[in-house]
């Protein structure tokens, strides 16, 4: 069902946790549908120096969260903003059709966190 890459990120998720006094926080999804992703950003000079996530959801939700945080860590805000769900899926060597929405959620969570950062910093 899941690729090895997915299973790797699922069983050893990177960047799990919270960032206190994060510069940007984004939460998407809802418990009703079974997926919530929350992403915390620490930004310095428009660069994402740290990122953490918390996720309530299935294996794919956890894996996409994990890889998305890896993919934006160390990137500038502008670069991070370009993250697409397609890129997430590709980095995971694919996702089952029924799980594509998780990658969308991951993209949205990143965007929501960046938007929060922008709002807080008037950028």
């Amino acid at each position: 069902m899941y690729s090895e890459k997915v299973m790797d990120h699922f069983s050893n998720p990177r960047n799990v946790g919270e960032i206190e006094n994060a510069d940007g926080v984004g939460e998407v999804g809802n418990a009703h549908c079974g997926d919530i992703m929350k992403i915390y950003l620490k930004v310095e000079d428009d660069k994402i120096v740290d990122v953490k996530f918390k996720t309530f959801g299935c294996g794919a939700a956890i894996a996409t969260s994990s890889i998305a945080t890896e993919m934006i860590k160390g990137k500038t805000i502008e670069e991070a903003e370009k993250l697409t769900n397609k890129a997430v899926v590709e980095s995971l060597d694919g996702l089952p059709a029924a799980k594509m929405h998780c990658s969308v959620l991951a993209e949205e969570a990143v965007k929501a966190a960046i938007e929060d950062y922008r709002n807080k910093n008037n950028k």
């Binding site: 899941y2 299973m7 699922f10 069983s11 998720p13 799990v16 919270e18 939460e27 418990a31 009703h32 549908c33 079974g34 997926d35 919530i36 992703m37 929350k38 918390k54 996720t55 309530f56 959801g57 299935c58 294996g59 794919a60 939700a61 956890i62 089952p96 029924a98 799980k99």
Partner: protein, 392 residues
């Protein structure tokens, strides 16, 4: 992975080795078509007849009341559609429950499109229907009442005999989907007044893809699969001979060990339930505390989602199942968990561990050792748990 613990017997079982042994000759030496006039066919026919007797005996029916099918879903489809079509001149109303198996519910939805009216009865928090509700739902046009014997997800066993009696009093045909019950619970269709009953071999150590529909003599039923003269012209298709032999043997074995086995398995389930409830906070037991299948345990762990729990258990070699939406590819969690009144977010966090013949005390101990830290770890990752912790 060091240890493998299979606790998904409600999904399917392995084939018992005596059952497999009984099946094997029918692929090679005894390969004739039971409809054939010649020796090759006649020999096989005798064994099919014997399997029919084995099934009949196990549920207290007559051999001529047993019709072999390709499994539980076909049996359910046939029962529902067959009774509906056969009684169209009498009425177009069917009563069933909200917690039936998809094989039954989707048959009902199909019939709705064909002009039938279906009442889906609610259940209480334990998954029990109320006989009073059934009675109130009956109209002049009711031609069928179908209530599952025991639920596949939460294990709740329904008051079948009472419903059957009510149906009989009102002269309405009564069907029960006993796919989860046969092999675990002692059933006698005559004593219990059941008109039709679905069963499936792969739930009691028989092969997948074969089952049966019991149809009480005299009950009119339109065919689902039309064609040849097999099954006394009621279910066409060259018989799944080896499968039928396997079904016969499996049900005979299950019946002979039912009491002893169910008691042992119930002991393990109870131990598992007690252990999980003690060790894992924010946990609910789904289903009825007493009236439940001996092998069924079903939990909801708040703040986490079922599939990620399953996958983590799987990594540790434990096979279970979940009514979570994600494990089925749909968006809504199990209709059963919603029907017992769980909110969506809690229903998403369900885990069913269904015990069977191969499970041991050690298996239960292993689960009790492995499960709590996994739940804890997933909760630590969950933004929902965060809020609870904050509130504490």
């Amino acid at each position: 992975m060091s240890r493998r613990v299979y606790m998904d017997h409600a999904a399917t079982t392995y084939v018992n080795k005596d059952v497999l042994e009984a099946m094997l000759p029918f692929y090679t030496e005894l390969f004739g078509n039971p409809s054939s006039v010649h020796q090759f066919g006649r020999e096989v026919k005798k064994h099919i007849d014997k399997a029919r007797e084995q099934v009949a005996k196990a549920i207290g029916a007559l051999p001529e009341e047993i019709y072999f099918t390709a499994g539980g879903s076909e049996a359910d489809n046939w029962a529902i559609k067959g009774i509906a079509y056969a009684n169209r001149n009498k009425g177009n109303h069917i009563i069933t429950t909200q917690i039936e198996h998809p094989g039954l519910l989707e048959s009902c939805r199909f019939l709705e499109k064909e002009g039938f009216e279906i009442t889906y009865l609610p259940v209480d928090q334990f998954g029990m229907i109320s006989v009073g509700d059934v009675e109130n739902a009956i109209t002049e046009k009711t031609v069928l009442i179908s209530v599952m014997y025991a639920n596949n997800e939460i294990g709740t066993v329904q008051p079948i005999q009472e419903v059957a009696k009510l149906a009989k009093d009102k002269k309405i045909v009564f069907h029960t989907d006993a796919v989860q019950a046969v092999g675990s619970i002692d059933i006698n269709v005559k004593e219990q007044g059941i008109d039709l009953l679905s069963l499936s071999a792969h739930k009691f150590y028989g092969p997948k893809g074969v089952g049966a529909l019991y149809v009480r003599k005299g009950v009119k039923l339109t065919n689902l699969i039309h064609g040849g003269h097999q099954e006394r012209s009621r279910r066409a298709g060259t018989e799944n001979v080896a499968g039928i032999i396997g079904l016969g043997k499996a049900i005979e074995l299950a019946a002979s060990r039912l009491e002893e086995n169910s008691k042992r398995i119930k002991g393990l389930s109870d131990k598992l339930i007690t252990g999980v409830m003690e060790k894992v906070p924010y946990t609910r037991l789904n289903g009825h505390p007493d009236n439940r299948l001996p092998g069924n345990t079903s939990f909801c762990f708040e703040f986490i989602e079922g599939e990620s729990l399953l996958l983590n258990l799987d990594i540790k070699g434990i096979a279970g199942s979940s009514g979570s939406a994600c494990s089925s590819g749909s968006l809504d969690p199990s209709h059963v968990l919603l029907a017992i009144g769980l909110p969506h977010e809690i229903a998403h966090g369900s885990l069913r561990l269904s015990l069977g013949d191969i499970n041991t005390e050690e298996d239960v101990d292993y689960v009790l050792e492995v499960l709590p830290p996994i739940v804890d770890r997933l909760r630590q990752m969950s933004p929902l748990f965060e809020k609870v912790k904050g509130g504490k």
